[in-house]
């Protein structure tokens, strides 16, 4: 009988405590244990690994760990727990008409996700809970039984704030009264602002610019994530995002995070140099399209994300559909150890050729 890998003792460690070499050894062993675990308890995963014909005795590095495409979670119910062990099921937001990922969590995985995220957040915000302003509508979290990625993200991060206040109303318009009252209650205090990149831009920044209004958030730190896909369609990059926010609100500390519902908890955090850093609980490998060989540092490729958290489902090594670049390791001027990287966007959807699909939707 295989013993369940348990990484609760990693909570004793600091998120950016180790340099790459030491981290590599710890991660490799942890991920290998998870691979064996999922192989024993998830029959679909076992079939995949069997077909790949991977020799688990021959895994030397993190990048040797077999990975599966993140898209599989949209098509299959992949889990390594029995149905009565399911504590909660997370779903990805998924743009209209698309299938959503279903991620099944047991108590251990859910609890570890929360605790690891707390470690990362404490590293960013300090251990005290700050007054929190959410740039979204309270509607998103009204139905607590259905955890959309957006709602779950807001609820998850709300644990690190107090006096949680929503900056947008039911129709996604700026709730001036709520914001003014909130700021009046916390004059001079540091403030934690949270939201999703696109929502912040579309429903907060653009209206402020349009109405030529400003806010006073000089003492705040903004954490945002969710991806740049829609913003890059509008040709809005990180620089524009930051500078416009700063102009309208005085926000100086704007921190992007990279994470996904398929690996909740182990997010990568942007430093003041604009680089994304992976904490010790997770890792990033960039692979060349096609061969999936590991790309050289500085070369763009497909991002694979690895995390020690997923034990209830086989999501510890996932090939994403994001493009990115490893920029270096252990030598970012910000001082954080480990790999740092940049996300360049989503893989472009290719035009489909073939004889089906006469009546294309226009």
């Amino acid at each position: 009988m295989i013993t369940a890998p348990d990484f609760t003792d990693w909570l004793e460690l600091r998120p950016f405590q180790f340099g790459s070499d030491q981290k590599e050894i710890m991660m490799k062993d942890a991920l290998l244990a998870l691979t064996q675990w999922h192989q024993s308890f998830c029959s679909e995963y076992k079939k995949i690994i069997d077909l790949f014909d991977v020799d688990l005795n021959n895994i030397r590095r993190v990048e040797d760990i077999p990975f599966i495409p993140v898209r599989l979670f949209k098509e299959f119910d992949l889990r390594s727990i029995s149905s009565d062990e399911i504590f909660k099921t997370m779903t990805s937001s998924g743009t209209s008409g698309q299938e959503v990922s279903k991620i099944h969590l047991d108590r251990y995985t859910a609890s570890l996700q929360t605790k690891i995220l707390s470690k990362i957040m404490a590293d960013l915000l300090g251990s005290k809970r700050l007054p929190m302003l959410v740039i979204d509508s309270p509607n998103v979290v009204k139905n607590r039984r259905s955890f959309s990625a957006r709602g779950a993200g807001i609820l998850g991060f709300s644990m690190f704030g107090q006096d949680v206040t929503y900056a947008l109303d039911e129709v996604m318009a700026i709730d001036w009264k709520a914001i003014t009252d909130f700021l009046a209650r916390h004059t001079g205090e540091p403030i934690f602002v949270f939201g999703f990149t696109f929502m912040i831009w579309q429903y907060f920044v653009l209206p402020l610019v349009r109405e030529n209004k400003t806010l006073s958030l000089e003492n705040a730190i903004l954490l945002h994530g969710g991806g740049w896909k829609k913003l890059s369609e509008q040709a809005v990059g990180n620089e524009t995002f930051k500078s416009t926010l700063r102009n309208q609100t005085g926000l100086k500390k704007v921190v992007n995070y990279y994470g996904m519902v398929e690996q909740t908890g182990s997010i990568a955090i942007e430093c003041d140099q604009g680089n994304l850093h992976v904490p010790i609980y997770s890792d990033v490998v960039v692979r060349e399209p096609g061969s999936f060989a590991v790309a050289k540092n500085g070369e763009e490729g497909i991002i694979e994300t690895l995390s020690i958290l997923p034990r209830s489902y086989p999501g510890h090594a996932l090939l994403t559909e994001d493009l990115g670049v490893i920029l270096g390791k252990d030598d970012c001027p910000c001082g954080r150890l480990g790999k740092y990287f940049r996300v360049n966007g989503r893989l472009a959807k290719a035009e489909i050729r073939g004889c089906s699909d006469t009546h294309e939707s226009s």
């Binding site: 679909e44 079939k47 995949i48 069997d50 077909l51 790949f52 014909d53 599966i68 495409p69 898209r71 599989l72 098509e75 299959f76 399209p289 096609g290 061969s291 999936f292 497909i302 090939l319 559909e321 493009l323 893989l347 472009a348 959807k349 290719a350 489909i352 050729r353 073939g354 004889c355 089906s356 699909d357 006469t358 009546h359 294309e360 939707s361 226009s362």
Partner: protein, 401 residues
Amino acid sequence: MNLASLPVELLAGSSLHKIQAQTLPPYSEEAIRFLAEVSSRLLKSPEIREYPDIAGFGYWCRRANLSKLALAFDKKYTRLGRGLAFHIAPANVPVNFAFSFAFGLLAGNANIVRVSSAKHPQATVILRAMQELLELSDHARIRRMTSFVRFPRDDEITKALSGISDARIIWGGDATVNRIRTMKTKARCVDVCFADRYSVSLLGADAICDADAESFSRLIVGFYNDVFLLDQNACSSPHLVLWMGNEENIHSAKARFWDGLSEYLDTKLEEPAIHSVDKFTHLCRTAIWLQPINQNRSQSGRIYRVELEQLPVGIENFRGQHGFFFETTDNDLQMLTAILNARYQTLTYYGLDPQIVTRLVVENGLQGLDRVVPVGMALDISTVWDGYDLIGTLSRLIQKI
């Protein structure tokens, strides 16, 4: 119903309400002369360098080829076009609208062609050539019989045009065919429907081992064209590769064939990164759904091969894209016989006698396989396609005793 008021964009020919269903006999001189002039214009146009599919259509409708087809066509009966043919062309094969039109015209019909809203540059080039010719008084008869239109997905327009048609040529697969077939037509209207189909390849190991460099290279280029020109999405592109030969020869033939294909792919543009993720995802799906015994991926990831011991019934529902193949050995063709159903369209072959395949289909009374063609000809569309004699089907015969 007022055709003049339908909100369509006229791309070439006459407005919908001016169309005259005054038919011609099959392979009429008017039709051949028009298409032959389209051919010479296209073959002279600078764009054919960039778009080999324009060249393909231009080459197909040159006079010599059309005369050859005319000569081979049934002379037993007097024939005439059925009347007005309405073509719903596919969105993703840029030149098929032109072939579809040519079949309708050669059969003797007036034609309304719905060109895809995808605005392929190939369509622009071909329609320009056609319009220039249709404006000439020499082709006035053809102009009165021809209308190329574009309109967004709109069931009302499709219904209106279905209601006046004597034949409909419906491309686009099962979903489109089924939807359009619910629309009312004249009682005698004939539908030619191109449903979703599946295709296979049958390769003789001995011949591949023995092939000299030149014929081997022709095989590789042909197989590449069959599969990759339309991202393996065409109904006639093979998804399943069956091998014949002894174990040792199959082993060597596979190595030579797939390595050769992989090297040839290396000379082509790189595939979009998303394709490699698509194939990798499909590999994982097949691991879960089927019981593959082995998988092989070329160094570049362009070719994915999944080896099966048995072919499950319904394997046609597991088709991949962009260079994803199932393969197995089937010396007595027992496995092929067991899976062949009405979905199966084309079998491409190399290094063996195609008679063994046609005999198998006929002797067993199988519903599958309409085309048995050499590797390299999978996409070669002509007047016989998908099990239809299109000129025969789109014309009516006048019996006299």
